[in-house]
Symmetry: none
Subunit: 128 residues, 4 copies
DNA sequence: GTGGTCTAGACCACC
DNA sequence: GTGGTCTAGACCACA
């Protein structure tokens, strides 16, 4: 897998995991891939995967059954959503509005583009 | 001034300068503060300001009269807007849409909040 | 049963067994549950129980009658108490005092809380 | 420096830093040793020091001036004390009481030992 | 097998 | 100079 280089890899992995949890690909209560396995799959060092898992453990999205593996917490989906939403509202939105305002981009255009984006998403979802 | 810590300070300073140019606070053709002065004002190392200015010179938003100082280019406003818009559309928007989609936030809510934001901006503009 | 995750499970099981011996729930000379039975009861791997039993055998708190099972040693209570007390004084107390000192917690408060704790213990003991 | 081997080194380093902050050896607002320097002093890898510093940054006890170094937060002392006290009450105290109760150790003995401990502490303090 | 800790060494952006 | 990221590889306790 290819990563953006303006953000640490482990952060991107954490985000990836969160998405898998949100969309239900890694269900609640289930064991997730070991750091070694995911490391091989993503072509990164197991330590890097661990750092991502570590972060999600402090968020209590994952928990550890020792000697067994890491598992998705029961309320992981809500926690992830809450965390992401908070970040979104606190950081993304203000910056977004500022840019829109300074660049004189009408909200209608954004809304139109978003409709197109949503359609695209749903069509790709069906394929998967 | 306090800076966000998820972005290099010099980038934030460059953005600040761009905004001053867009809103006309630093008009085209006019000399801008020295790195030392702005460094003192923002409480950062002059080198950091220098780096921001350098960056804007490569974008040809600022130009250098040797021994005199840095000046705002004639077509600075258009250049800045073009650059920012390109960045905004290419990087910001896709990520923004993705979050909106994953978190099930309706576009209508965003639009509503933006109206409030615009009103606030205009009222503070008058004060300044 | 749920275990603390800052200590190996087998150590916690060993401690649990010791307590049962101290309070007389598992009297001296008596056979104790098999690793399988206790494993089922505590919802852990039998191997983990085995490890706890092994540890207590090296302490000579338990002894093995081959083909029959594990039994509580005759002087188990004294041995356990001696062992625990030694550990308590050597490791726990110094750390405890250090914390108390750094955090400016008066000994009187601790003593008061302990009285409350004792009362609670005795009242629950009656119920059981 | 020598570390206990029943606890990760980085945790012990974090605790060490906290103590230095509490007793005022590393005052509020002041820069602390670089990861490299402290690594040399404690004879551990800089990465290990960093992990300790990292942890204290998430607790907002330390903060980062980028390219400059790490600094002790303004309210570091209170934060550290609050954090330690909470841990102390939630984990240490219950275990402490339980042991005292099971081992029939009178509170008076503990209190007496603590007095001795305090005197020793204060006499060593004078030397330093 | 699992996660976790630690080291050594490299590279980076930032100030 | 600073912190931060990443890798490779070793070792460990735990289950």
């Amino acid at each position: 897998m290819e990563f953006k280089d303006n953000e640490p890899i482990y952060v991107q992995i954490a985000a990836l995991v969160c998405e898998k949890i949100i969309i239900g690909q890694w269900p609640t209560g289930q064991r997730i891939p070991s750091v070694r396995d995911l490391g091989v799959e993503l072509e990164v060092n197991p330590n890097t995967v661990m750092r991502a898992y570590d972060f999600l453990q402090t968020l209590e999205v994952l928990y550890n059954k020792r000697g067994v593996g890491l598992f998705v917490a029961d309320d992981a989906v809500e926690k992830v959503k809450a965390h992401r939403k908070q970040e979104f509202v606190a950081q993304y939105i203000p910056e977004f509005f500022k840019q829109l305002f300074l660049l004189d981009i009408p909200m209608e255009e954004i809304a139109r583009q978003y409709e197109a984006f949503k359609k695209e998403q749903e069509s790709t979802k069906i394929k998967t």
